[in-house]
Amino acid sequence: MSEVPFFVPDGEVASRSRMADFQRFCEGRLGRPFSGWLDFHAWSVRDFRVFWRWLLEWAGLDVEGEADPVCVGDECERARFFPGLRLNYAASVLAGAGVGDDHPAVIAEDETGRLERLTFGDLRERVGRVAAGLRGLGIGPGERVVAVARNDERAVIACLAATGLGAAWSSVPPDLGSDAVLARFRPLEPSVLFAHGHSYYQGVRRPLRERLAGLVAALPSLRTIVSLDGDTAAVDGLGLPVTTLAGLASMSLRPGGQEEGGSWRRFPFDHPLFILFSSGTTGLPKCIVHGAGGTLIEHVKEHRLHSDFGPRDTLFFHTSTGWMMWNWQLSALASGTTVVLWDGSATYPEPDQLWRVVSRHRVTVFGTSPAYLQYCRDAGISPRERVDLAALRAVQSTGSILFEPLYDFVRDHVKDVLVQSISGGTDIIGCFVLGHPGLPVWRGESQCVSLGLDVREQRDPAGGPAELVCANPFPSRPVGFFGDPDGSRFHEAYFAKNPGVWTHGDFVRIHPRGSVRILGRSDGVLNVRGIRIGPAEIYAILQDFPEIKNALAVEQEDPRSPGGSRLVLLVVLAPRAVLDRPLTLRIKKALAQRASMNHVPDVVADVPDLPVTHSGKLSERAAREAANGRVPANLAALRNPECIEAIRSHPALARPRPG
């Protein structure tokens, strides 16, 4: 572990940060100073009710009702935050921490050169009008609305309008395969579909009509389709009324999402806001319901305190509408921060396109992934030599582990700025570990654990790496899973392994100084090239291959790959089947078309058998160990330990060498 910090924030900048301001606020209330960050964080955990109560007050969020009790219950699994409070997420976002109507809110740009700039005034006006139109269609609390949406300002308007009325929002990008979209949306029984009629990627216009037709046919609960881009030809004739975003806005002459007097209706703190999806090793993707209050207060904490976002910031987090970072960056508006949206390929029309966006819009905080930074490094792209990055003050990275060389790449080829590796995810719509405007940055590590969260190492008695757990209640714990009335799936996903505490599925090492190193996934979920992949979606598609009797998808360490690993698919063939090149390519093609390119394995290897436990369960962990050339620690737990050697010595699985 390196002993010299990679970056030390300027002391004056740190003392002017919102984190420092909030710390002073708390010290004033307590009547004593904290001895440092670790003391402050320990207090925020020990007295988490006071912490969240004071954060709510300090942030000045527009809420009504009683802030007490802050949290009912002491167990993470069942605790409820702020049962007496009511708020409206969209209204808080649109409030922008009090910025005026002229303040820039959204800058949306795409591959074709289309550029839209909305001020907060524009956004407030357009969201209000669209909400009025949606209300006219009967949209309100208890409904789910879904979107197949490009990452542009129209998706933002639709989302805020729908959630402002109390509907729950769920979106996917246009390039997600049809099987994957259906697996996500069908359980939700949505009432409205928002959709773009076409997408652009790498300079190619792709009509979406065929895909949308299949989706509409499979979602009988739909009552209306709203065309986001006015391309109604893509959705006409599908048996449902079609309107456009502009059409909705014109249904009312005055903004009508609000109640009389211009305020938005408030909903309970736990009111369903976003439904995100997480695919695991078995079954359909989990539909994770996030509450409005938990999402808002967690994001405000991460944005204002840990990221120091404010009205002078312009945030560009490269994402699609299907990743939780889209929801995360949307909430940055609530801090008065301007949000830049990019729709299209990261490398089109220019290989360094994202850096051009950063430069053109004077972005102060650029959010990206290790995969993108590694692409830049491998391509010899040195942004500092190509574009003006004067406004940039921080680079944030998430999706997978940001290894040491990429920190150096940022300093040497981008700018000597704060590099913040942040990690958490879909399950909590936020971060467990992240940045801090005043703490040193250590290569390969996140700066700190999130305030108010009792993140710990759960030791492995067998001596393996520790698991990341969160031992105390936190507001952005999901409300639950959709379609899981007794909470049994929810319990199984996060609380069965270590009763009473949230088990996240990551290995972690927390340094005594407070910085944190994520070591990889501890469950069967894959993270390849920075994208989290549930192997269950791969297995579902392989069901249509009679040649395949059984399969396991595992990560194999690969120092040359972005994120440090590649996807390996181990298959056991049916009698007389042969894994020849045509079959391998058919498997890959099916996964690319029906799931996504991210589900395509780098290697397909046929093996005589897959490791099975004595209870008959396939052991992904043992297969992963074998694919990485190791002997699993507990061979005795396997019914067929002899299969391990066949995997370890498989020629197709020769381990990649470092570059």
Binding site: Q202, G203, V204, S345, A346, T347, Y348, P351, Y375, D378, A379, G380, I381, R560, P582, L585, R586, K588, K589, A592, V600, D602, G659
Partner: protein
């Protein structure tokens, strides 16, 4: 000393790589001729080019100067093969 590949062998090797990573059996159809632009015809994007370059570096134990990564040198089948076979470190593949 490695085995020098013929033009057709190198061509097939690149087509196989394209199939393995992007086109899954359609690469030969997509690459209609060896002079067509990969970028303009959806054969590869910039991310894909970098991945192909890393693969070729690994396979042939050569180092490709990133400043040479340009349309002039790489944006077609023929250009890639010409660049690789003229590379001063190129000695074919280990036989």
């Amino acid at each position: 000393m490695g085995k020098h590949l013929t033009y057709d062998e190198l061509r097939q090797l690149i087509l196989d790589w394209l199939d393995d990573h992007y086109h899954f059996g359609d690469a030969a159809t997509l690459v209609r001729n060896d002079d067509m632009s990969f970028l303009d015809n959806g054969v590869l994007n910039s991310l894909g080019f970098v991945a192909l370059i890393v693969y070729l570096e690994d396979l042939f134990r050569i180092t490709i100067d990133r400043k040479a990564l340009s349309r002039e040198n790489f944006d077609s089948m023929r250009k890639i093969i010409t660049y690789v076979t003229n590379h001063p470190q190129y000695q074919g593949v280990a036989s």
